[in-house]
């Protein structure tokens, strides 16, 4: 997907003004936040200890990624899978098209894969004359809506209401509109069933890759993942190199974290462990299995100051809880990954200079870090990105100069005292005898939507000095 992340700031006003979007965001994030809170409260063990365990598992892999990749590759090959590596999105597209051609594929059924978004895979497949069909309900909705990109990593149509989906379905399926969710799901299922049975290739992502068994683990709620991985003769898994987990035992630990953090479920409706091709005597499974492991900027993070980001298990909790995401939705972020994790990943994967607003677009409230199941210090990473922006001259000159001037003053108490005294008087004058400033020339952005409460007019320092002098005189 081509990054539009440069235009975050420019997209914000339209998102804020879109009342339907605002209502949808409020409803959806409210639901996710409440569900997670309840699931954590009901967890029978110590959820904080579970988060520690999750972090430790992910750190172990990230610390020796190359070794774990080799282990996974050997285990997967032993089960008849072919493991391929893709350096970037373009290479994903090339590999998938090659595999499709090799097996005479004309239709691909897909379950959720964010890597497929990184590769813009649907467009690539269509250009090669192959029909992609999204089968995750949310992704299917997005595909019907003129291939609109997902706005959330788990709930691609997070920004849409059920009424909007009903309209869309009526138009696309040529049937009278259905207005309940069960009815809509039934309708999608009828359409998709046909595709499951006729597609020659299933393409999926993977939530985890198990090094000891060579399996791909898929966590889904609709059962489409199971269809995609078992019905068609060819199954292609596309996922990031960091998705490896050492053992099935580790998967069990992470499975306690992932659904609770993501949707507040104790466990997702389906957990699919896809291991190898269909062996002799087995009824289900593909004849051919390919696992495409994607770098696209990941390997460069291992061992560096952003390595903790590779722990991410794509649960979406950070965005569900983010006040900025809740205000503008996922599309404002401009690339595959939105919310706090996207604000870290997008600059790292697509270039710091191509996503200038994203590291800044956070209050650093750490609501994300507080819920991240693998304890990624997201605000700390955003701050590090800001530091790099500063060092690489990617912030406006005006901002850098203002900071430097302020820092210079703050290091000189006498001058500083004078400057603050003047500032306090000036603001007091602006308030003009009232308790607030309604328009402030030096920071009009602040007063566009807020008043600035008036200062008292004199600084603490001056008042304190006066008081000390006074009490000394009295004491004399």
């Amino acid at each position: 997907m081509r990054s539009q992340a440069m235009h975050f700031q420019a997209r914000v006003p339209a998102k804020l003004a879109d009342e339907r979007l605002q209502a949808n965001l409020a409803r959806a994030s409210g639901r996710f936040v409440a569900a997670r809170a309840q699931a954590v409260a009901e967890y029978e063990g110590d959820f904080e200890a579970l988060r520690d365990a999750g972090r430790d598992i992910r750190d172990r892999v990230v610390a020796d990624l190359d070794v774990w990749l080799e282990t996974f590759e050997a285990s997967a090959a032993a089960r008849g899978a072919e493991v391929l590596y893709a350096r970037d999105g373009e290479e994903i597209g090339r590999l998938v098209v090659e595999i499709a051609r090799r097996h005479g594929v004309t239709k691909v059924v897909k379950s959720k894969s964010m890597l497929s978004e990184e590769a813009d895979l649907n467009a690539v497949l269509e250009a090669a004359g192959i029909t992609p069909v999204e089968t995750d309900l949310g992704e299917y909705i997005q595909q019907l809506d003129d291939n609109e990109p997902p706005s959330h990593i788990l709930a691609p149509a997070f920004h849409k209401s059920k009424e909007e989906v009903a309209e869309l379905f009526a138009r696309a399926h040529g049937r009278p509109p259905v207005d309940d969710i069960a009815g809509l799901t039934r309708e999608a299922r009828e359409v998709l069933r046909r595709h499951f049975l006729t597609a020659q290739m299933g393409l999926s992502g993977a939530n985890f890759l198990v090094a000891e068994t060579g399996s791909a683990v898929l966590v889904t709620n609709e059962g489409n993942g199971r269809m995609v991985t078992t019905l068609p003769p060819v199954h292609v898994v596309v996922t990031g190199i960091e998705k490896i987990v050492p053992t099935l035992e580790d998967v069990a630990t992470l499975l306690r974290l992932l659904p609770r953090s993501a949707s507040g479920q104790r466990i997702s409706n389906y957990v699919t462990v896809a291991t190898g091709v269909r062996a002799a005597g087995e009824l289900d499974g593909p004849d051919h299995l390919y696992v495409i492991l994607v770098d696209n900027g990941r390997a460069a993070l291992a061992g560096g100051e952003f390595a903790t980001m590779l722990r991410c298990i794509r649960c979406g909790a950070c965005m569900n809880h983010c006040p900025v995401y809740q205000s503008v939705g996922g599309h404002a972020y401009g690339w595959v990954y939105p919310g706090p994790m996207g604000a870290v990943l997008t600059p790292l994967f697509t270039g710091l200079e191509n996503a200038r607003d994203l590291p800044q677009a956070s209050t650093l409230c750490n609501q994300c870090g507080a819920v991240c199941p693998v304890r990624i210090p997201l605000p700390g990473l955003l701050r590090r990105l800001r530091e790099r922006q500063m060092d690489e001259g990617l912030r406006p000159r005006r901002e850098r100069r203002a900071l430097r001037l302020w820092g210079w003053l703050a290091a000189r108490p006498r001058l500083y005292r004078l400057a603050v005294r003047v500032a306090a008087r000036y603001l007091d004058w602006l308030a003009d005898g009232t308790d607030r400033i309604r328009v402030m020339g030096i920071a009009p952005e602040w007063t566009a939507g807020r008043d600035l409460p008036a200062p008292e007019g004199r600084t603490f320092r001056d008042l304190y000095a006066a008081r000390r002098k006074h009490s000394k005189e009295e004491g004399r």
Partner: protein, 242 residues
Amino acid sequence: MRVGLFVTCLVDLMRPRIGFAALRLLEHAGCEVVVPADQTCCGQPAWNAGDRATSRRLALKLIDEFDGLDYVVVPSGSCAGMIRVHYPEVLRDDAVARARAEALAARTFELTDFLVNVLRIEDVPGGFRGSVTYHDSCSGLRELGVKAQPRALLGLMPGVELREMEAAEACCGFGGAFAVKFAGISTEIATRKCRSIEATAADAVVLGDLGCMLNIEGRLRRLGDEHTRVLHIAEILAGEDG
């Protein structure tokens, strides 16, 4: 017990009475309070902007100024968090400075945390009567675990009725420079906070960070709410005459 009061730059400029309220509370509890005259800012704006050199300079300055005191107390969760959580990271490249930062961090407390967990005070001078709701500012809450402390202190005031708001732990949208860089989003987030506050119909919203206070009060007034008072926890505890 010699306690250094770090007033914070924003209190110095905008609301000296919060500084005096903190002073009064500490003295009321029997502390000898020292207010180093040359203090300015903890460097948080620079740190959050990615300007490590400036934050380093200001961190070293503050560490020098508060040297030799038993404690440092700050009427702000985010400034106390800056010292306690971030200074060691700001100074990570210099072993000696880092060790000094860690020593200071261990002696530094957010005001309510200090009153409850170090001084263990059992009465406060303030005589406020009415209903209040408490907003948990992000840094105090998530960096320092300030949550029960202000509520315990409000519980010492017989005239105060505490009404919890919906999503008290949600950010108010301030975020320092964020409030200006992304003013539209900031205002939208503040609006949600104001709605939660108004839903309690409390006489006052109380909180522990001046940045959030300016943001919340500014938005409340712009939304036409002229009656909900916005008070710093120090003000209400110390009594409003400071």
